[in-house]
Amino acid sequence: MQTVSDICVFASVQPLDWSAAALDVAVKVLCSLGAIMLVMCFAGLSVVAERKVCAYIQGRYGPNRTAIPVVAAVPLIGNFLKKNGLMQLVADGLKFLLKEDPLPAHVGKFWYLAAPLMSLSPVLIAACVIPFGAYWSDGQLCPLSAADIDVSLVFALAVSALGVYGAIMAGWSSNSKFPYMGAMRASAQVISYELTMGLSVLPVVMWVAHSSESPLSLFEIAKAQGGLWFCIVQPLSALLFLVAMFAETNRLPFDMAESETDLVSGYHTEYGSFKFGLFFVGEYGHMVLGSSLFIVLFLGGWNPFPGVVWPESWGWAGALLSLLTFIVKIAAMLFLFIWVRWTLPRFRYDQVMRLGWKVLLPLALANFAAYLVFMSF
């Protein structure tokens, strides 16, 4: 565990050992790449899963025909990839890459080009502090994350909320009414639900603060769930966080930024080809990040079942299993996202605002107050 002050001390006082520092940097870069790969793989796979699950819910097959000529001829695997639409993923990506990349004449060029990056990069940055698993080292549990900082919860929430600037920049710079309306809705919605999200996390932090010195660390929060998970201890907090997360990630039923029925396609109406692809991946990346946060906060992190932890004696197998557990949980959460999307209709804008300010915020405050009273006794 490095605190911010530790890093400062290390930089200013200690003489640098360059080879060790270089190795450290290399390891950190590899870890970050690992975290980014994990998020991007899940973002890609959730696109396929979205199409498949929605097809199944609607009684269709979904994409099952796209085939890469040589790969499709491989026995068993080829047919498996084809039937499950995994090559459709490649085709979609290639389509985004190879399409003409138009730059409309009426847009604010700089912000228009910066917006897709702004929507994707916060996800990848925030992914670096998520503990995707844990391993035992010298009798101590250490997180499998690229950066283990003591305020990672605040960091993740703050950075992932930056993603909405992508939508706002896109909407503003597009110089067109529908993107603009989409962006305004997105920003209003994020402001409303950010409050609920923050307030629903506080009881968890208070709970962890009993046993840990740095309760704002995602690793400590997940570690504290070796016994009962927080979704069992604090169901209301979990529910509020879940609803706020749906709103933050702009997923249906809170699909205000896009709402293609009334706003063409919302903030990315003026975008095409790869820039649209970045928004698309950013949206799914946000889902992955939101799921990871929910898992760490309420679903026991890398612990397989409530009250069960991977034992220390299993060593690296335990670490791998913890990573695997986390991955399975992310997959389950993504399925929930998709499942909810293809079940519920979209809220009207005023309903979203009413729910946010008149229902969720008072509930979150009451929840927070209740736990405040409960913990102080």
Binding site: I57, Q58, G59, R60, Y61, W339, T343, L344
Partner: protein, 178 residues
């Protein structure tokens, strides 16, 4: 006159909204395991109903005689002007020369055809029949114009109980007293 509809007040349970969401989720979840309704078209073909109106074709009778006598009624009735008949005479050395006329060429432009079936209704000889073909493709406009040979190849044989022209011939051989 405005009709004021009394809106039922929702109960607390209904206003919670969550039970409804959960029941909705269960409905969609059950749907995942239901059989698919998709017809995987090129691999599976649809079951066509009786009386299906596909592409129009020309048919022959059980003796292999082409039924069309090029009366051009189909051409006149065709609302989209898809049919063009070039009438011709049957050569005198042919077995059926007493029928006098047969089409020299019979063209149906499948880009114009609207599959209404009026040609089939108008035909006094039951020579033009809309059959089951529904997948009509080509690489150029010319590919969609079907000529006489294509139409007969697609039509095949349609047996005829009455055999009108056979009776005409028999009567003629009996000296015209029927």
């Amino acid at each position: 006159m405005a009709i004021i509809v009394e809106r039922k007040r929702l109960s607390f349970w209904e206003r919670l909204y969550l039970p409804q969401i959960v029941s909705g989720l269960f409905i969609t979840f059950k749907n995942i395991f239901k059989p698919r309704v998709t017809l995987e078209y090129p691999d599976q073909s649809p079951v066509l109903p009786v009386g299906y109106r596909g592409a129009p074709t020309l048919v022959k009778d059980s003796e292999g005689r082409e039924k069309c006598v090029s009366c051009q009624l189909c051409e006149f009735v065709c609302p989209s002007k898809a049919i063009r008949v070039t009438p011709g005479e049957i050569s005198p050395d042919c077995e059926y020369s007493y029928i006098e006329k047969a089409p020299k060429d019979f063209k149906i432009d499948m880009l114009r055809c609207i599959f209404c079936g009026l040609c089939q209704e108008a035909c006094p000889e039951n020579a033009i029949v809309l059959q089951n073909e529904f997948s009509i493709n080509g690489y150029s406009r010319g590919d969609f114009v079907r000529h006489k040979c294509d139409l007969y190849a697609a039509g095949g044989v349609m047996p005829d109980k009455i055999m009108k022209w056979k009776k005409v011939r028999d009567n003629a051989e009996l000296g015209g007293n029927r």
